[in-house]
């Protein structure tokens, strides 16, 4: 559209911006992560991750994030299939109703789950009405998973929904004409065509679930610590930036690994297609 000179001028603000606010901050984190209090190079703080409490938190974070991601995937596929097969007229309103909860403040709606799940909460009150024994729901790993699924389900639904609406309806009709049943249509056509959408959904759910400290603080009762809680405490209670940054660097390693893994999966799939 423009010549090279203009293009480069237009590109400059972003380059300066990215250098200052994306690149340098990450260098800062790594710098603090690999130095000790005297400014000397040291991996001791990174090594802390193998300490008992820290390692448990990391393990729990990975486990809960994986479980939440799988549940989101399992819930989102049928939901998106149902939403896309309906008539265009209704879909707009129904889809909007599924996005609407996003506008409720996520801290408040997560707190509302406290009210539903806690000892004297709504579920236990209903149980009592029927003379059933109380359930221990709050402050369990299950409650944290529920909070993660609640908060991050839209991030799975949106890319999947978009991927599904992009499928040419004629391909599905062709499959049916050629004698494929619904299950075969799903596994042979819909699933492969929506894998890129599913992959971006998986990343969008897994990363925030792995690194959250809010959901575990609200629904874990302060006893179930995730790696995010530990990092947050290093900054706001112990004021130990070096340990906090070292643990953040470890989180970043996981984020990069996850990105490489999904990118590799994406690529191998593309090659299969063409």
């Amino acid at each position: 559209m423009f010549n090279r000179g203009v293009r480069n001028i237009l590109l400059t603000p972003f380059l300066i911006w990215a250098g200052l606010f994306i690149f340098i901050p990450l260098v800062c984190i790594v710098w603090y992560g690999v130095t000790d209090y005297d400014g000397n190079f040291s991996l001791a703080n990174m090594g802390l991750i193998f300490k008992h409490g820290y390692f448990d938190a990391l393990e729990l974070s990975i486990a809960l994030a994986l479980i939440s991601t799988v549940i989101c995937l399992l819930l989102a596929y049928p939901l998106c299939l149902i939403l896309t097969e309906r008539q265009r007229d209704n879909t707009t309103i129904i889809s909007l109703l599924f996005i609407l909860p996003l506008w409720m403040n996520s801290l408040l709606s997560t707190m509302a789950w406290q009210t539903i799940l806690e000892g004297n909460g709504i579920i236990n009150q209903i149980m009592r009405l029927f003379g059933l024994p109380d359930l221990q729901l709050i402050n369990t790993p299950g409650a944290i998973v529920l909070g993660m699924v609640y908060n991050y389900l839209p991030y799975m639904v949106l890319p999947l929904y978009i991927a599904l609406t992009k499928i040419d309806k004629r391909i599905l009709e062709a499959a049916r004409d050629l004698g494929a049943n619904s299950w075969q249509t799903f596994t042979k056509i819909i699933l492969p065509l929506t894998i890129p959408g599913a992959i971006s959904g998986i990343t969008m759910v897994f990363i925030p679930a792995l690194t959250t400290f809010v959901i575990s603080a609200l629904l874990g009762g302060g006893k179930l610590l995730l790696i995010g809680n530990i990092i947050e405490q290093e900054f706001t209670f112990h004021y130990d930036w070096h340990i906090g940054c070292a643990l953040s660097v470890i989180l970043m390693i996981f984020i990069v690994l996850n990105m490489l893994l999904t990118a590799a999966f994406d690529k191998s799939h593309e090659e299969e297609d063409f």
Binding site: F14, L26, I93, W103, T212, G244, M252
Partner: protein, 261 residues
């Protein structure tokens, strides 16, 4: 099968709206303690309008949301236009750089920006929150604008040039109007992300400056002021009405187009 689908939709619907129902109910609850129902009141709505702390946090949230979304939209648009002219390989590289704040964990982005601001000697407060929000808003804007810009037919722009328009004039009068929907979508998404962000604000805010989310987080430990429920109920219904009007208009528009055809 039809019933199974409807039941499935209903269950997901219940799951998504159960906490929202609880919050709305709490905004009318006479007791200030959650989960303890003592009757219906409109007290909290009345108090909401006299609560200076909430008014302060609300105005911070709105002004940071509008400013950060506006600046991010401008920066994102300029960058998109420039990126369109890059070779495929360079564009992919640039896009992966722009995506870093989305793909990175909020906690890492928040901490890294805090370290930068403190290293630069910038006092943590309104400006640092605003800068941080622009940082994570730019990628959302680019995500909205880039696909539409790539799909844009170049020939109209070239025709404008042939007819004697300067590149800038041609861009403003031919390309920009075409991009309006995605620019609007990018702005709206950026504003939403800014208004709902907690983690990055938590790390980049200083003492004394609060947005709604950090105010709520501070209140979590001492018990939420029910005025907050009243506010979120109002916001929720405001958005609900807005969305419904939008959907109805769209429906009418579709019908209108069908009639024309």
């Amino acid at each position: 099968m039809k019933y199974i689908k409807q039941i499935y939709l209903a269950i997901i619907f219940l799951f998504l709206y159960a906490p929202i129902g609880v919050l709305i109910a709490q905004s009318f609850n006479a007791s200030r303690y959650r989960g303890h129902w003592t009757g219906v009141t409109l007290n909290w709505y009345e108090k909401l309008f006299n609560d200076a702390r909430i008014a302060d946090a609300l105005s911070n949230t709105l002004s940071i949301g509008l400013l950060s979304a506006g600046i991010a939209t401008l920066l994102g648009l300029i960058t998109c236009v420039a990126m369109k002219e890059l070779s495929r390989k360079w564009r992919a590289t640039f896009l992966s750089i722009t995506n870093v704040p989305i793909l990175n964990a909020d906690i890492v982005t928040g901490i890294s920006l805090m370290l930068l601001f403190m290293g630069l000697g910038l006092k943590l407060g309104y400006v640092s929150i605003l800068l941080a929000h622009i940082v994570f808003n730019v990628p959302y804007v680019i995500l909205c604008i880039m696909p539409q810009l790539m799909a844009l037919d170049k020939s109209f722009y070239e025709a404008a040039l042939d007819l004697g328009a300067s590149p800038f004039k041609a861009f403003m009068s031919v390309v920009l109007p075409e991009l309006r929907p995605s620019i609007f979508a990018g702005f709206l998404l950026a504003f939403t992300m800014s208004a709902d962000d907690f983690i990055i604000t938590h790390f980049t805010k200083g003492a004394g400056v609060d947005t709604l989310t950090t105010e709520i987080y501070a209140e979590l430990k001492i018990g939420i002021h029910p005025e907050m429920y009243a506010l979120s109920t109002l916001v929720f219904f405001f958005v609900l009405i807005f969305v419904m009007l939008f959907a109805i208009n769209r429906r009418k528009l579709i019908k209108y187009e069908e009639v024309l055809q």
